[in-house]
């Protein structure tokens, strides 16, 4: 602290020039001086002088050399190991996928899921939001989820459908275990309970997204149970309309840093979905490849990366980047109940092959309203209003942060845009 040059601190340019003019060069030069003296030497207000001293000494206003501030306190790897071993992960209900990810989506890390349209990125996000609410006794993390929707693909009915199937699964587990405590927890795990623990934000531009990221830490402090933040998708606002690529990279870099800070400070999992783009390699005679969007510099920002792709009519997920897990490829399917393993014995009768063309999905949603919905406990039409009100709103001061649910009171027949 003593010998560090003042120009290496995050002070504004005017403050830097005033310090230089007054002859202060290192942090040690400011030590032991009173705020009033500093403000008269530099020609700034006492509050500004206090702020400068705070920045230079890392949070202590008295100008003395201090021990490492709490934020910078490192820890020994042994302590980190014990913490990591006790940390849970959020299951996806697809056993192979969980195995590939080392138990599920890891808490405290950022996971990126990239895929072409129609592969199930939004479905996976819904599944993980529901799974974040599963009580610990059933292998979950007893948490809440925040869903940030940038594409308008949030459909409550589908989320409720997945939640209902999850509830049935949990009830089945409780029945099999025959433990009164598990029964009690399963009976609390209702559709209303799940939906009230998923918070939805809608963002219409990259500025909205940046604003949400600024507000998110306070929101999470007010809701300490939040264990998952989903941004679906991070690429939507950044692919068009950006003339200056360096500005885009800087904003994305800032976003990823805020997400890392939120993930490590609050020990929650972050899921980002990304789109795919084509890389054309004229020069080297290689064929065009499908690569994740947002460029190479974004590729370094997430801790884990999973790429989804089609192989024939089956969906596959490949883990391509992870600090601690082996690379692997597994297959999964999207069913009426959500994301599940591919079960060869079951055949495809239960499978919902969500085709990439939007027409098929919308016809499915219409069927959902008209069918005899014996799979679900309550008929949709009557309870729908209550469902819509159950999903908690985001408490954000800025007026145009809409709650995605209150947008429409009618079932949203426009299909989830799987971009």
């Amino acid at each position: 602290m003593m010998q560090r040059a003042l120009s290496s601190f995050p002070l504004s340019a005017s403050q830097q020039s005033k310090l230089a003019l007054a002859g202060f060069e290192t942090a040690g030069d400011l030590k032991g001086m009173r705020i009033a003296d500093i403000s008269s030497e530099l020609g700034v207000t006492p509050s500004e002088a206090l702020e400068i001293v705070r920045v230079v000494t890392g949070g202590q206003g008295d100008g003395t050399d201090t021990a490492t501030p709490p934020l910078h306190a490192g820890q020994s790897v042994l302590a980190l190991l014990q913490e990591e071993e006790s940390r849970g992960s959020i299951v996806t209900f697809c056993a192979k996928l969980d195995e590939m990810l080392g138990g599920g989506l890891p808490l405290g890390k950022i996971t990126e899921v990239c895929g072409a349209p129609g592969l199930g990125k939004t479905q996976l996000s819904f599944q993980l939001c529901v799974d974040a609410c599963i009580p610990e006794a059933f292998g979950g993390v007893t948490g809440e989820a925040v869903y940030i929707d940038t594409e308008g693909s949030f459909v409550v009915q589908r989320l409720a459908e997945i939640a209902q199937a999850a509830k049935q699964h949990i009830d089945g587990l409780a029945e099999a275990s025959d433990d009164p405590e598990m029964w009690r927890l399963a009976s609390e795990f209702t559709l209303d309970h799940i939906l009230s623990r998923i918070h939805c934000y809608r963002s219409h531009s990259y500025l909205d997204l940046v604003a949400i990221m600024n507000v998110l830490p306070e929101f999470i402090k007010a809701h300490p149970q939040v264990k998952l933040v989903v941004i679906d998708s991070i690429a939507a606002h950044f692919r068009h309309g950006f003339e200056c690529m360096s500005l885009r990279n800087r904003i994305l870099g800032g976003l990823s840093q805020s997400l890392i800070i939120i993930a490590t400070r609050f020990k929650l999992a972050v899921l980002l979905t990304n789109q795919m783009t084509t890389r054309v390699n004229h020069k080297f005679g290689k064929p065009a490849q499908l690569v994740p969007a947002l460029g190479d510099s974004w590729g370094h920002s997430c801790t884990l990366r999973v790429i989804l792709n089609w192989n024939g009519s089956r969906r596959f997920a490949s883990l391509v980047k992870s600090p601690s897990l082996k690379e692997d490829v597994v297959s999964y399917q999207i069913t009426r109940s959500g994301v599940r393993d591919v079960d060869p014995s079951l055949g495809n009768s239960d499978a919902l092959n969500v085709a990439s063309s939007q027409g098929d999905v919308s016809s499915h949603l219409e069927d959902l309203d008209n069918d005899d919905v014996t799979q679900l406990d309550e008929p949709w039409e009557e309870e729908e209003e209550e469902r819509l009100n159950m999903v908690s709103t985001s408490v954000v001061p800025s007026g145009h942060m809409l709650d995605g649910i209150r947008r429409s009171k009618r079932p949203c027949l426009s299909p989830p845009s799987e971009q």
């Binding site: 560090r4 601190f9 934020l71 910078h72 980190l80 800087r250 490590t264």
Partner: protein, 200 residues
């Protein structure tokens, strides 16, 4: 992570790891130690000799490095006296937000970081290792070049590029780009497996 674990197993020195990409995994370190032959009972002692700091901004990294320099200079405790390796993971993640075509603050910060790392390395006999990313190179014949440009390329004494040759076989290649002791262009292939980086 492999480097850190190797130092801990072979020597009695301690290691500092500054993590800016949130990619450090203690479970993976333990796996590397165990598959290199360490006994389960020694793992705890060994892991105590490594410390990890989460750095989110360049200023955090500068504060921690300054503090480390002071502690090493003062030989304040056994951990700092035995410190011989400092790893800064993700230098491009830290510096990229500050690089702006119009202002020169980014370049000034790079010089500060370079000065601190050099003083740690030269004055206190510590090996300082940084990881950097590669960006696409449109001008020359190779596909990729190191990020952060010419300013940063003058800072390290030695530079190694890691590439993946073929996705199916899992083989990687390390090429020496810059060195004052060896001829450049030497390449070595390696695998990534349970032991971390392993020779083929």
């Amino acid at each position: 992570m492999t480097m850190a674990m190797q130092v801990i197993t072979d020597t009695k020195f301690s290691v500092v790891y500054l993590d800016s990409t949130n990619g450090f995994s203690a479970c993976r370190c333990k796996e590397i130690l165990l598959s290199r032959g360490t006994q389960e009972k020694d793992v705890a002692d060994m892991l105590r000799r490594a410390r990890v700091y989460n750095v989110h901004t360049l200023f955090d990294a500068l504060s921690i490095l300054t503090l480390l320099t002071e502690n090493v200079a003062r030989q304040s405790d056994s951990y700092h006296s035995a410190l011989r390796l400092v790893i800064l993971d993700g230098v491009s993640t830290l510096i990229a937000p500050l690089l702006d075509a119009k202002q020169s603050q980014g370049h000034a910060m790079m010089s500060h970081l370079a000065a601190i790392l050099k003083s740690l390395a030269l004055d206190h006999s510590i090996a300082a290792v940084c990881t950097n990313s590669m960006v696409s190179d449109i001008s020359s014949s190779s596909l990729l070049k190191p990020a952060l440009g010419k300013t940063w390329s003058h800072v390290p004494h030695c530079r190694v590029a890691l590439e993946r040759t073929c996705t199916t076989s899992g083989l990687h290649v390390a090429t020496l780009l810059k060195s004052s002791r060896q001829p450049t262009g030497i390449a070595v292939s390696f695998l990534i497996n349970q032991k971390g980086l392993d020779s083929t």
